[in-house]
C-alpha cells in the first residue's frame, strides 16, 4: 500500500472511532458508559422472567452480555453515522448516489428507454420465472405501491396527514366481497365501482375535517379508520363480523375461470397494469393545475387562499382522489386473497402505508416505490428470522428516519433550463 492510501485509511479509521469525541480514550469511555446504561435499562425486562402463579423466577444473565457487547460496538457506528449526517448537512446538494444515478438515467433518453424495456421484460416474465409464493409476495408489494401512491396524493402532495387511509381500502375490499357474495358481480364490474365508492367515502370524510389543521386532522382520520373497522367487525348481519367473508371470486379471463396458479399469474399482470395506470395518473395530476394547487395548500394554507385557490374544493379533491386508488386496491386485495376480515384493516396498515410514503420520500413516485420495496419485500424475505422480523422492521424505520429524515428519494420538480441562444440566432 502506498503511503498516501495508508494515511487515508488511517484517517478514516480515526474518524470512525472518534467521531463526536476528543480522542480514542474519550470515545472508548463514552461507549463503555452507554453500554452500562443500556445494561441497567434492559435489566428487568431482558433478564428477569417471573411466574407469579408458580412463584418461580428465571434469570437470563447471558443476555446482559449480548446487550453490553452489541451496544458497546454499536455506539461507535451510531456516533460515526451521526457525525457524517452533520457533515452532509452543510452541503447544499443532498442527493444520494442512488438519486443521482436515477436522475442521470432519466434525463438520458437511451438509458431511460432501455431501463424501462428491461423492467417491462422482467414484469412480463416474473410469474413464469418464480413460483406461486414469490408471485404472491410481489402482488402484495404492488398493491402497497398503489396504496402508497394514493396516500402520497393526500399526504405528500396536499400535506393533509391522513392516519385512517385503511378505511377506504377496507370499503373497496368489502364492497367487492359483499357484492360478489350476494349478487355474484364480477371483478371487472366491481373495480370501477370500488373506485367510485372510495371517492365518495373520501368526500364524506373530507367534509367534517375541512377546518382542522395538522395533528387534529391526524387524530380524526385515525378515528374514522377505527370507526370503519369497528363497524365492519360488529355489524355482523351485513358484514359477517370477525369471521369475515370467504370464497370471493377471482377475476376471470373473458368468462374463462382460471385455476389457482393461472389466477395468480393473471392477477400479477392486472396489478402491473393497474400500477402503470396509477403512476401515469399521479404523474399527470402532479403537474396539472390541481396538483399545483395541492402543493400550494401544503406549503401555506393562508397564502394559497389569498391567491384565489378554493381551499375546500382542493382538499376534497385530494381526499377523493387519494381514496379512489385505495378503493381499487381493496377490490384487487379481496380478489387476490379470496378471504377478508376486519383484522386486515387495522391502524397498523395505515401506519405502514404512511411509513412507505415518508420513508420513500414524500411526494415522489420513485420514492414510494423504493419505500414499498424496503418495507414490504424485505420483511417477507426476512421471514426466516421469525420473531425478530418485526423487531428489525421497527428498528429499520427508526434508523432510516434518524439518518435520512427527508426520505430515501426526494421529489424532483420539473426544471426547465433556458438555453442561451447563439449570437445571430437571437431576435428571430
Amino acid at each position: 500500500m502506498s503511503n498516501e492510501s495508508k494515511t487515508m485509511n488511517q484517517s478514516f479509521v480515526r474518524f470512525f472511532l472518534t467521531a463526536g469525541c476528543d480522542g480514542y480514550a474519550h470515545a472508548v469511555r463514552k461507549s463503555f458508559l452507554v453500554a452500562l446504561w443500556f445494561v441497567f435499562l434492559t435489566f428487568p425486562i431482558m433478564v428477569i422472567r417471573v411466574n407469579t402463579i408458580e412463584n418461580t423466577v428465571v434469570w437470563h444473565w447471558s443476555r446482559l452480555g449480548y446487550v453490553a457487547l452489541a451496544i458497546f460496538f454499536g455506539s461507535f457506528v451510531w456516533r460515526w453515522l451521526l457525525a457524517r449526517k452533520e457533515l452532509k448537512k452543510d452541503e447544499s446538494q443532498n442527493e444520494t448516489r442512488v438519486e443521482s444515478v436515477l436522475t442521470r438515467m432519466q434525463s438520458n433518453p437511451i438509458f431511460k428507454f432501455s431501463a424501462l424495456a428491461v423492467l417491462a421484460l422482467a414484469a412480463a416474465v416474473y410469474p413464469w420465472a418464480f413460483n406461486l409464493y414469490q408471485t404472491n409476495i410481489m402482488i402484495s408489494c404492488l398493491i402497497y405501491i398503489v396504496l402508497g401512491l394514493g396516500l402520497n396524493i393526500v399526504v405528500g402532495l396536499a400535506g393533509l396527514l391522513d392516519l385512517g387511509y385503511v378505511a377506504f381500502y377496507a370499503v373497496g375490499a368489502y364492497a367487492y366481497a359483499l357484492c360478489n357474495m350476494h349478487w355474484g358481480l364480477g371483478f371487472w364490474y366491481m373495480l370501477p365501482v370500488g373506485a367510485v365508492l372510495g371517492a365518495v367515502l373520501g368526500i364524506i370524510l373530507g367534509f367534517p375535517v375541512l377546518r382542522l389543521r395538522g395533528d387534529y386532522l391526524a387524530i380524526v382520520t385515525l378515528g374514522f379508520g377505527e370507526i370503519i373497522r369497528l363497524v365492519l367487525e360488529n355489524w355482523g348481519d351485513v358484514t359477517m363480523g370477525p369471521s369475515g367473508i370467504s370464497s370471493i371470486a377471482r377475476p376471470d379471463l373473458f368468462g374463462v375461470k382460471l385455476g389457482v396458479v393461472g389466477s395468480t399469474q393473471y392477477m400479477f399482470y392486472i396489478m402491473v397494469g393497474l400500477l402503470v395506470f396509477t403512476i401515469f395518473c399521479v404523474n399527470r395530476l402532479q403537474n396539472s393545475r390541481i396538483g399545483r394547487a395541492w402543493l400550494a395548500l401544503r406549503e401555506d394554507e393562508i397564502a394559497c387562499q389569498a391567491m384565489g385557490i378554493d381551499k375546500m374544493k382542493t382538499k376534497l379533491m385530494a381526499f377523493a382522489l387519494g381514496a379512489t386508488w385505495a378503493g381499487m386496491a381493496g377490490v384487487v386485495f379481496a380478489a387476490k386473497t379470496t378471504f377478508i376480515n376486519p383484522a386486515s384493516f387495522t391502524f397498523w396498515e395505515s401506519a405502514i402505508i404512511l411509513s412507505i410514503v415518508v420513508i420513500g420520500g414524500m411526494g415522489s413516485i420513485r420514492g414510494v416505490i423504493a419505500g414499498a420495496i424496503i418495507l414490504i419485500l424485505v420483511p417477507e424475505y426476512l421471514r426466516e428470522f421469525a420473531q425478530f422480523r418485526m423487531l428489525l422492521f421497527g428498528a429499520i424505520m427508526v434508523l432510516v428516519m434518524v439518518f435520512r429524515p427527508q426520505g430515501l428519494i426526494s421529489a424532483k420538480r420539473k426544471i426547465y433550463t433556458y438555453k442561451v441562444a447563439e449570437a445571430g440566432a437571437a431576435n428571430e
Binding site: W37, L41, T42, P44, I45, M46, I48, R49, V50, T52, N55, V57, R63, L82, K85, V155, L161, P208, R211, L212, R213, D215, Y216, A218, I219, V220, L222, G223, F224, E226, I227, L230, V231, E233, N234, D300, E301, I302, A303, A306, A351, L354, S355, V358, I359, M362, Q387, F388, M390, L391, F393, G394, A395, I396, M397, V398, M401, V402, P405, Q406
Partner: protein, 300 residues
Amino acid sequence: MEYFLELFMGGLTRGSIYALIALGYTMVYGIIELINFAHGEIYMIGAFTGLIVAGLLTMLGFPTSAILVIAIVCAIVWAAAYGLTIEKMAYKPLRSAPRLSPLISAIGMSIFLQNYVMIAQTSDFLPFPELIPHFDFMDKVGSIMSSAELVIILATVASCVGLTLFIKFTKLGKAMRATAQNRKMAMLVGINVDMVISATFVIGSSLAAVGGVLIASHIGQINYYIGFIAGIKAFTAAVLGGIGSLPGAMLGGLVLGLTEAFATGYVSSDYEDVFAFLLLVLILIFRPSGIMGKEKTQKV
C-alpha cells in the same frame, strides 16, 4: 340509580388512567410538537416492570402494601429511563427535520418496543397480582365502587395536583412553560432546552408508569400489546381536551372514560370505541382546537 353511579365510578377510573397517559402525550406535544406514538409502550413497560418487581418481592415475602409502593417506584424509575433513552435516540436527531419524520420514527420505535418486550418476556397474557389493598370502609359502597377504583382515582388526583403545582411554582416548571411557548427565546434567556425536554419525557413517562401499575393491578393481567390500545385512547383524550394543555388532557381523559363507561353500560359494549371516536369528531367540528385548546393565530 345505583347502576348509573356504578357506571360513573367505573368511568372515572378509566378516565383517570387515560388522563395519566394523556398528560404525557400532551406535555411532549406542547414542547416539541411531536405525537409520541411510543408513549403507550412506555405505559406497557411500566406495567411489566411493576409485574417483575412485584413477582420478585412476593417470593421474598414482603407485605403487599410495601410491594405496591416499591413496584410503583421501580416502574417509574425504569419507565423514565426508557423515555429518556427513546428521546435521545429517536427524537433528538430529528428536531430540525420535516414534521412527519419524527412521527414515523415514533411509530417505528413503538413497533420495536412492542416486539422487544414480546421476545424478551412472552407473548402470552401474564397474570398481575392484586397489589391494591382492600379497605373495609369501602364495603358500604361496595356495589358502586371498589377499593381499587378509589385508590386509582385518588392517585390520579394527587398526581394531577402535584403536576399542576410543579408546573406553576417550580423553576423547572417555568422553564417547561417557556420552552413550550417559544423554544428559541427560551434558549436565548439561558434555559437548557435539552434538559427541559428530557425532563418532560421523564415526567410524562413516570405518570404513565403509575397508571400502568395501578390499572394492571385492577384488571389482573398484562400483555405486550396493551400499550397500543391505551395509547390511541389516551391520545384521543389529549386531543379532545386540546393538545398542549395540561388541564385539557385531564378533562379529556375524564370525558373519554365517562363516555366509554356510559356507552358500554347503556348501549352496547361492542361499539364503545365507536362512541369515543364519534364524540371526538363532534367536539372537534364545533371546537377545532379541542375543549380547552387555544386557537393559534396563523400567520402567512
